[in-house]
Amino acid sequence: MSGPPGPQSANLADLLERILDKGIVIVGDIRVNLLDIELLTIKLRLLVASVDRAKEMGIDWWEHDPSLSSRARQVEGGAEDDLREENRRLCERVAALEAHQQSVREKGEAS
């Protein structure tokens, strides 16, 4: 390795995931609603994290990390994904049952 990269070369994703919602929180004299920053964080996370694709592969380590999973909004997003996935599974099961019923009926007619 030819020496660690300096701060200038830090890529934006690496930088933002460390800076944006980390660091000691002290109340300042100018009140920035932290919620505003968190909303921004979430918007960026949509861009930063290809969460859906990773989840599809069964990779979900970050959900077990307390520092990441403690965010309620993240959980909400996850719940939505779960619903979508469950919905997809149910659709497949209905289709499978219909196909099965169809084949049973065909067999009944044949005999």
Partner: protein
């Protein structure tokens, strides 16, 4: 410029004031220090036209502005962290003047002390691991998992066959995913042995990581200075041993990822003492 405010980057302990000489921070403003006891607050004077309440709210939504501010914030914290234990403060923490910053150093003295104790002599390293886009991430010779097929084979029409094929495809993908996850967990466990603490970050989108492969690990490790060489040797050995993954190491970083979330939330509660 309608007014000014004091931007706080972080708090260091035992920092040589010469370290920050000539450093410029957010808005290109020079960085100063406010010293109380052994603690040094790193600050800059900024204009409220950029850092006032309303301006800040708008600016934080502007990615270009945010990037510039984040890079400047990082540059200051980074320079201090390489010289002395430095606790980063949340971006966009602003005070009326230096006297208020000095008050905060006194009020929050214990908390800063605790955080600084936990990171003294330690820096953060980032490790990202990518599985190559095409290669299967693991031996393809795994025995196929027993398939719990409901309908007996041979029955059913084209629809059932289609569904079964889809199910097989999905199972295949899930198996591949499990192998990838197991591999990532293995690499992580090996690296974590060298670290005081470790944190996972969510995977990054290829548009931002600039890599085609799937990011299978994105983690931060807090290392004692003495363990750095050993840790980096492990990352190199991992990269050499595993042909179908790429290992990217970043750092050293100020220990951003290891600022205790609980310390932060208790601060919020303490700060919000107004009814």
């Amino acid at each position: 410029m309608t007014g000014t405010a004091v931007y706080l980057y972080g708090v260091a302990r035992g920092l040589d004031p010469a370290t920050l000489g000539g450093t410029s921070g957010v808005s290109g403003a020079p960085v100063r220090s406010v010293v109380v006891g052994g603690l040094t607050a790193l600050v800059s004077t900024v204009g409220t036209d950029d850092y006032g309440e309303a301006a800040l709210r708008a600016n934080l939504e502007d990615l270009a502005w945010l990037e510039e501010a984040a890079r400047a914030h990082h540059k200051v914290v980074d320079r201090a962290a390489r010289a002395a234990p430095t606790a980063p403060v949340r971006i966009a923490t602003l005070y009326r003047d230096d006297a208020r910053v000095a008050e905060i150093l006194v009020e929050e003295n214990d908390r800063f002390g605790e955080v600084l104790d936990s990171i003294a002599g330690r820096l953060e390293w980032g490790v990202k691991v990518y599985a190559s886009p095409d290669a299967p991430a693991g031996p393809p010779t795994d025995p196929p998992s027993p398939s719990p097929v409901v309908a007996p084979a041979g029955t059913g029409g084209a629809g059932t066959a289609y569904l079964r094929r889809r199910q097989d495809e999905r199972r295949h993908r899930e198996d591949a995913g499990r192998r990838v996850a197991a591999r990532a967990a293995g690499i992580h466990a090996e690296l974590a042995e060298h670290a005081v603490a470790a944190r996972h970050h969510p995977p990054q989108d290829p548009r931002l990581s600039g890599r085609a492969g799937t990011q299978i690990l994105n983690a931060a490790y807090l290392l004692d200075d003495a363990r750095e060489a050993g840790f980096l040797a492990v990352t190199r050995a991992t990269a050499d041993r595993l042909a179908d993954v790429e290992v990217e190491v970043t750092g050293p970083w100020p220990p951003y990822s290891f600022i205790d979330a609980n310390a932060a939330s208790s601060a919020t509660a303490a700060g919000g003492k107004a009814p």
